[in-house]
């Protein structure tokens, strides 16, 4: 295992973590965007080194969001949304650096606890999933889509978005290598040359998370950056680890909530931090202090959102289903290297699996070391001018899209099409996360569904195949029913 840790491997993790923190620290830029932009750099690095860079970006990107959340009261990434509630009041009281350090230590705890869950849980889940037939695999995808839709802000739109993603993924040929008949479907006449293999995954992802985000900023007039004087980084009271005394339960509970939310497909970091924060407030002896600069609030929010990082990798590495939009991009890195993630991945690629665990561990430690000891410098990143960053990011998006299939210009146009689609979709209140998961899993869902029917010739097989099918149907019905009941309850309480 130790031979995996080469100087380049460590350098890529540390560099990735640093760039990730920078992306996370700048409001409007996210960990997903960081991974999307840097994905083309992994072409020549090989799988382990490429993943080292991307996992560093992921951990750094999620953690960096706490900087503007605390110093400016603006969450750098959606996952730091509840960090603002107590972090910013602390900063206003002259405890900015103390609040940042509380968040950094909590982030490290969340990251490490979720990594432990990933290490213990993913191989067991993969071992179990190996026994799945096409029927259960199809139901797992259906379950992933319903969970995601059920947890969307609008369930109906969430389900619609997921199925729309599947539909768009089916454009092109019914691939012979998947047992298909090699015939075209859903292709407008005259576009067969470009759409033969459908839309490539990475240009779609880069368009949705890179270009669409910049178009959104352009629509808002590219809000002005903040000056150094806006930063509330004065230090009136020093940070001490004693602040964590009595917070063990909060740290473990929030980290586990974050990890669990990460395991649920397509549920973002904002849900992880909100759930952790709400729980911390409910179980606190001083709930009235929350929202006024209570360190326990920052601890809950940050251990929750960093708990997401390991959790989101569990369904990806054991079932091939991404846990969130950033891990969906990691599928792109595997695709680039010709490796399919799924139940067989951990058993067949132990080196890559070990490399990922080591990379996550080093990334968490690097994140802690960099942010803890150099937080004053990272805080200044918040002030970087967006007019310098955004054009470079757009250019990197173009490279990512162009090089994915070794130089196909249609992929660059795909980036533009889905960038504009992403912007329009948010206006139409479509849900991007279910759309992406539907797009990624659509072709597999088709193969599992059609092959099940070809083999058994009976629709009832989806219920009667095994006890696992019955459990999965109960989970599917439960997630939809639970969401409907929750939405009714919310409406009546309003």
């Amino acid at each position: 295992m130790l031979e995996l840790i080469t100087p380049l491997f460590v350098l890529l993790i540390v560099g990735g973590t640093m760039v990730g923190i920078i992306f996370g620290s700048i409001p409007g830029m996210t960990a997903t965007m960081a991974v999307a932009v840097c994905l083309p750099l992994t072409y020549s690095l090989g799988l382990e080194n490429g993943l080292a860079l991307l996992l560093g970006l992921y951990v750094g990107g999620i953690s960096g969001g706490l900087v503007p959340a605390i110093l400016l009261g603006i969450p750098g990434t959606p996952s730091s949304i509840t960090t603002t509630l107590d972090g910013y009041p602390m900063a206003q009281k002259g405890e900015g650096e103390r609040a940042l350090k509380i968040g950094i230590v909590a982030s490290l705890s969340g990251g490490l606890i979720s990594l432990l869950v990933l290490y213990l849980f993913a191989p067991a889940l993969a071992d179990f999933a190996i026994k799945f037939s096409y029927v259960e695999k199809f139901l797992i995808i259906l379950f992933a889509l319903t969970v995601m839709a059920a947890l969307s802000s609008d369930m109906l739109m969430g389900i619609f978005s997921g199925f729309l993603g599947i539909f768009i993924a089916l454009i092109g040929t019914y691939d012979i290598s998947d047992g298909g008949n090699g015939k075209y479907r859903l292709i407008p006449p005259g576009t067969e040359y470009w759409l033969d293999g459908g839309f490539s995954l990475l240009p779609v992802l880069i368009g949705l998370f890179g270009l669409a985000a910049i178009l959104e900023q352009a629509e808002l007039g590219v809000p002005k950056g903040h000056s150094a004087s806006d930063l509330q980084v004065k230090e009136r009271s020093k940070f001490s680890f004693s602040i964590f005394r009595g917070q063990g339960t909060n740290v473990v509970r929030s980290s586990l909530i974050g990890t669990f939310v990460g395991i649920l497909p397509g549920v973002g970091g904002s849900a992880a931090s909100i759930l952790s924060y709400t729980n911390a407030k409910t179980f606190s002896k001083k709930p009235e202090n929350f929202g006024k600069g209570e360190p326990a609030g920052i601890i809950a929010s940050e251990s929750g959102n960093n708990g997401l990082t390991g959790g989101a990798l569990v369904p990806l590495l054991s079932l091939g289903i991404p846990g969130d939009s950033t891990t969906a991009l990691l599928i792109g890195a595997f695709t680039l290297q010709g490796i399919q993630v799924g139940p067989l991945f951990i058993g067949n690629s132990p080196d890559t699996w070990n490399a990922m665990i080591i990379a996550m561990l080093i990334a968490n430690i690097a994140m802690f070391a960099m942010m803890y000891f150099a937080i004053r410098y990272f805080a200044k990143v918040v002030t970087v001018a967006k007019h310098l960053l955004f054009p470079i990011i757009l250019m990197m998006c173009v490279i990512g899209a162009y090089t994915i299939n070794y130089g196909i210009m249609f992929d660059v146009w795909t980036l533009l099409i889905f960038g504009v689609f992403g912007w329009v979709a948010t206006k139409l209140r479509l849900e991007i996360a279910p759309f992406i998961i539907g797009f990624i899993l659509g072709p597999s869902a088709e193969v599992y569904f059609v092959k099940s029917l070809e083999s058994f010739g009976d629709l009832s097989i989806f219920v009667t195949k095994s006890w696992i099918s019955v459990v999965l149907w109960l989970l599917i019905i439960g997630s939809v029913a639970g969401s409907v009941m929750l939405s009714r309850k919310t409406k009546t309480s309003l």
Binding site: R185, H387, L388, V398, V412, V450, L453, D458
Partner: protein, 139 residues
Amino acid sequence: MNDLTKVSIDFERSHLVFPRLIALVLAILLVAIIIRDRQRILNAMPYWRGVFKDMDKTRFFGALGVTLLYFSLMVPVGNIWPNTGRGFLICSIPFVMLVGLLFMHERPIRSVMSLAIVSVVGPTFVWWLFTYPFFLTLP
């Protein structure tokens, strides 16, 4: 009852089974959305008028237009020097500069100069990185 669930799939037409099923589900969901959100759909025109009224049109459409131009020119320019990536390099420099200028709020000479440096150094470094160490051909 058992016959109702029996399905036989003709391999020659198997490419249409799943897309048709998904299209049917989408149609049902769309009808449900239309029924539920009919009021919102009826107000779509004022909503979109509001979106366009509130947006920074210069920056939004300017960025979109410059991007469109950038994508359209890259290949024709690159074809002048095939397989060298110069189409990317030559088009990226003005692209970065133009988008940067578009996104700037004030344009003092100092800021414009730093943007000019970034727009030359950034694309040149990326072009060098992908052309030499990575051996990936850009347009």
